[in-house]
């Protein structure tokens, strides 16, 4: 399905939140054209509006100005064609890992087919053997991986990932990055991923959108034209890394 489906058009998007002390402008003048099947990474400092932008694309918020279209359809509320992994796992504590993942299945999925799909993604995210565990019985990283599987079972055209590997250790993180790339290639879907990790951004993205502080705008959108799998220690990789690094250190001295 590599046509206009899965392409995203973000034009002049602005987002204000009404607060008691007045409007808070979180995003301003966001323009982005995402081709179907593209892997976009958003990087930016805490509070710059990355999650807000994902929620706008996900249809959980509406833009104060501008518009977002998926293919040729304007976005009106959430939909299964846009899978979402939130910054927190948001697993239901009353369901086992298996049940949580199965909750992501489309209504009307045949039982047998659903079972096979859930099983497939459960092992894909490395949770085999934990299907019967409740969220409080597995680690934060495992919860995040279960949440990823829940978003994948309905095979969305666009996958919105809000720091999905934030709770993972460095090693599992690298492993999950490889998994995500594999899933992305196989599904030919569009991915928009938020991260704090510059290394991760360069490793994964076709393009990296660097966001400025509030109100969030795209300070720069860098293409990463390196073949995959990328070598993290290669000269071009390090060069792009340094470039992004410098983006942050130019206007602000300190980075958390």
């Amino acid at each position: 399905m590599r046509d206009s489906r899965g392409s995203l058009h973000i034009q002049g998007v602005e987002k204000n939140f009404a607060l008691p002390q007045g409007d808070l402008r979180v995003l301003a003048g966001i323009d982005l054209e995402v081709a179907a099947g593209e892997f976009i990474v958003l990087v930016g400092k805490s509070g710059c509006g990355k999650s807000t932008l994902l929620r706008l694309i996900g249809g959980l918020e509406t833009p104060s100005r501008g518009e977002i279209r998926l293919g040729d359809k304007g976005i009106e509320g959430p939909g299964l064609e846009r899978g979402m992994v939130f910054q927190e796992p948001r697993l239901f504590p009353w369901m086992t890992a298996w049940e949580n993942i199965a909750f992501g299945l489309r209504a009307g999925t045949e039982a047998k087919e659903g079972e096979a799909t859930v099983g497939k993604y459960l092992s894909l995210v490395g949770l085999s053997g934990f299907e019967g565990a409740y969220p409080h019985q597995i680690s934060g990283g495992m919860q995040q991986r279960a949440a990823l599987a829940r978003a994948l079972v309905s095979r969305p055209e666009v996958l919105l990932l809000d720091e999905p590997f934030g709770a993972l250790d460095a090693l599992t993180r690298i492993q999950m990055q490889l998994e995500i790339l594999r899933i992305w290639k196989e599904s030919k879907g569009t991915v928009i991923l938020v991260t704090h990790d510059i290394d991760e951004a360069v490793f994964l993205g076709d393009r990296i959108a660097v966001m400025s502080d509030r109100p969030g705008t795209f300070r720069d959108i860098l293409p990463v034209k390196l073949p995959r799998p990328r070598d993290r220690s290669s000269a071009p990789f390090v060069k792009i890394r340094r470039k992004i690094y410098n983006e942050f250190f130019h206007s602000t001295r300190k980075e958390g």
């Binding site: 959430p78 299964l80 948001r90 009353w94 409080h136």
Partner: protein, 266 residues
């Protein structure tokens, strides 16, 4: 058998011995003081006398008969109150319309103590079973209603967002997200409600009845049998304790996911 971590005392000590120690001590002191003639037996019989009375009331089947009558009333009234409380609490928790429409009525009725309804209900329904069961239903309704309402309203919006993103229909959202998340609250309500139901059956029987534990106590007072009275009082306490224990056990069975967690989204 010393086990590590509990100061050399076994878990059995904490689970069984220690809780029983204090009541045992009270009984011993009470018995000793009674033997020395500290209490007038027409007002406070000794534990041994009460135990003998208990035995004979059990043997004659009188006590169990009264207990059964009371329990049947409690379960009838509790079932009605709990079902109405759950339904109304869910309805008002889900729908802003019904919440607004009924909030003043429920707010007005809720502070009225259950006992205040007894004379009113006797006037409306007579002194037969109906009025007693209704008193119990009213008593158990409120805690169930309040807890369910709070539980349904308190569903974490983050969970609701997950369901929205996955395009779940209203029924799935209700049955798989809202109700499970409200279930611990429901159980709190049921537990408190059952306690109140049990307390109010006795209240209802004290006023008008010809059988039941409450009646037994009242009648014993009229015919000056303090030992029978106290057997009745103790039976109420023990039955209440047992009911609470059973609800807690049921709760533990049902909420494997909510144990150990402790925190989580309430």
């Amino acid at each position: 058998m010393p086990s590590p971590g509990t100061n050399g005392k076994s878990p059995l000590f904490y689970r069984l011995v220690l809780p029983l120690l204090v009541p045992a001590l009270i009984l011993v002191v009470w018995q000793v003081l009674s033997d020395k003639g500290f209490f007038r037996t027409s007002i406070l019989p000794s534990p041994l006398v009460i135990a003998q009375t208990l035995q004979s009331l059990l043997a004659s089947g009188e006590l169990l008969g009264h207990l059964r009558t009371s329990l049947v009333r409690v379960f009838e009234g509790f079932a009605v109150g709990a079902i109405l409380g759950t339904v109304l609490g869910t309805l008002m928790g889900l729908s802003r319309f019904w919440d607004r429409a009924l909030s003043l009525v429920t707010g007005l009725l809720r502070p009225i103590p259950t006992i205040a309804w007894i004379p009113v209900l006797i006037l409306w329904m007579g002194i037969d079973e109906g009025s007693k069961v209704t008193v119990i239903a009213v008593g158990s309704f409120w805690p169930v209603f309040m807890n369910v309402l709070q539980g349904v309203k308190g569903t974490d919006p983050k969970y609701l967002e997950v369901a929205r993103v996955l395009e779940k229909n209203r029924w799935v959202v209700l049955s798989q997200v809202i109700l499970p998340s409200a279930l611990p609250s429901l159980f709190t309500g049921l537990r408190v409600g059952l306690g109140i139901a049990w307390a109010s059956v006795v209240g209802a029987e004290l006023i008008a009845a010809s059988s039941g534990i409450g009646y037994m106590i009242m009648y014993a007072r009229e015919v000056s049998q303090p030992d029978v009275m106290l057997v009745g009082v103790v039976t109420i306490g023990l039955t209440g304790l047992l009911m609470d224990f059973l609800v807690v056990q049921l709760e533990k069975r049902l909420f494997r996911w909510n144990q150990a967690a402790g925190e989580g989204s309430k």
